[in-house]
């Protein structure tokens, strides 16, 4: 991810009237200046100028919604449900190569059920970057979208036992999703590139099972304190 966006502290919580809110605004302006530069850089090539339109945003949100059920379908184990099979090709078309292993690792023999309940705020484009890799002509555009949504996630292990989350409890999720597109290709699509997890994010729920942390190795003369 080129120049990751640093989401301001307490994004969903502060108003613009308090001191912290003003600081946030200053940082936002600074960052948006850089974004404007990127905007101009990308303009002659393709559709970055259309990004700020609403319909594009909705398209991106739709993409995100497509990606996650795509992933869900992807992650179901071979034998669990017949019609939802792991479709590597579709997943690759929705997610970039950098994001793919992050998503898929450790999931081969697990069942993941993910569903989108509703969107609490309309998604906003927060950050724009446009950069070239390797050659000067290889232009990639990266967009960070801030989404506040309600989702349901449940992960089951190989034997069908619940490992994480629950299907009945929707959770409010504020996330910053980065989408990337290969701008040179006129038929390129916006694919999910990664997520930015801010440091002030609330801690995730603990997993259901208990895990043993091995004690530090002691010499025979020492005692554990």
């Amino acid at each position: 991810i080129i120049d990751p966006y640093v989401p301001p502290e307490g994004d969903a919580r502060l108003t613009s009237l308090s001191k912290d809110g003003l600081k946030q605004k200053m940082e936002k302006l600074k960052q948006s200046a850089a974004s404007q530069l990127a905007h101009h850089k990308g303009e002659p090539i393709t559709g970055l100028e259309q990004l700020c339109c609403e319909h594009r945003l909705r398209e991106l949100e739709g993409r995100r919604l497509q990606v996650c059920p795509g992933c869900v379908k992807g992650f179901l184990g071979k034998d669990s449900v017949k019609d939802l099979d792991f479709n590597k090709q579709k997943l690759h078309s929705l997610v970039t190569e950098r994001c793919y292993p992050d998503m898929v690792r450790g999931n081969r023999y697990k069942t993941i059920r993910w569903s989108f309940v509703e969107s609490l705020e309309p998604p906003r484009v927060v950050h724009l970057r446009c950069d070239s890799m390797v050659n000067k002509d290889n232009l990639y555009g990266q967009v960070t979208v801030r989404m506040h949504t309600r989702q349901v996630l449940a992960i089951y292990d190989r034997f069908g036992r619940l490992m994480y989350g629950g299907e009945q409890t929707p959770k409010d999720v504020l996330e910053y999703v980065v989408f990337e597109r290969y701008l040179v290709n006129p038929y390129g699509t916006w694919r999910m590139h990664g997520k930015i997890v801010p440091e002030w994010a609330p801690p995730k729920d603990p997993i259901i099972k208990t895990v043993m942390i091995p004690a530090p190795a002691l010499e025979p003369s020492q005692e554990y304190e």
Binding site: D79, P101, R105, G106, T111, Y156, D157, F159, G160
Partner: protein, 187 residues
């Protein structure tokens, strides 16, 4: 032998597993995925299959150890194997420890002592014939025997042993057999 799907692979596809020799049936049993359970159902006990191939030992001698371990809990089995004098005991102990480790890491088993041995089997491996030289120019053909060892660990306490069959039970069964007879071609 098992696919290192949970190891850290920086920026490379997860699906690169080194293609080892053909996977046997026992190894493939670990790939079965069950559908998610409904909240009302009783919890399905986890079953982990592990094996070691081509152990340089005779499978008849390995059978004695496998039979010793069969219904025990994993801690008891490890204790018995540690103090057994046989060569195969060391190998089986390693296999059990590997399987326990695998269970905790990959198969979402919560407590590593909560496992018991549901099945332990020894099978014949590939034999190779060699010449054994005797005196006076005589020779014999010696076979180098190998064996495989298979374990199935299941989560939960070990099942209670079956009570031995008493004479009273046998007598009851005999009487029941007599009562089950039917008269054919009569009134």
């Amino acid at each position: 032998r098992w696919l290192a799907s949970s190891s850290l692979l920086p920026l490379s596809c997860i699906h690169t597993s080194a293609h080892l020799e053909k996977l046997g049936k026992w190894e493939k049993k670990n790939r079965v995925v069950y559908p998610p359970q409904l909240p009302g159902e009783p919890r399905r006990p986890a079953a982990i299959y592990h094996c070691r191939r081509d152990i340089k030992y005779s499978h008849e001698k390995m059978w004695y150890l496998a039979k010793l371990i069969k219904g025990m809990s994993i801690d008891q089995a490890l204790a018995q194997l540690e103090f057994s004098d046989k060569k195969g005991a060391k190998v089986i102990k390693e296999v059990l420890l590997e399987a326990q480790d695998m269970a905790v890491r990959n198969h979402n088993v919560e407590f590593k002592s909560n496992l018991h041995i549901a099945a332990s089997i020894s099978g014949r491996g590939r034999y190779v014939k060699r010449i054994r030289y005797h005196g006076k120019g005589m020779f014999g053909i010696m076979k180098i025997s190998r064996c495989h060892y298979f374990v199935k660990l299941v989560e939960g306490p070990p099942p209670p042993p079956e009570p031995p069959k008493t004479g009273f039970d046998q007598a009851k069964e005999y009487v029941q057999q007599l009562r089950n007879r039917t008269l054919v071609h009569t009134l």
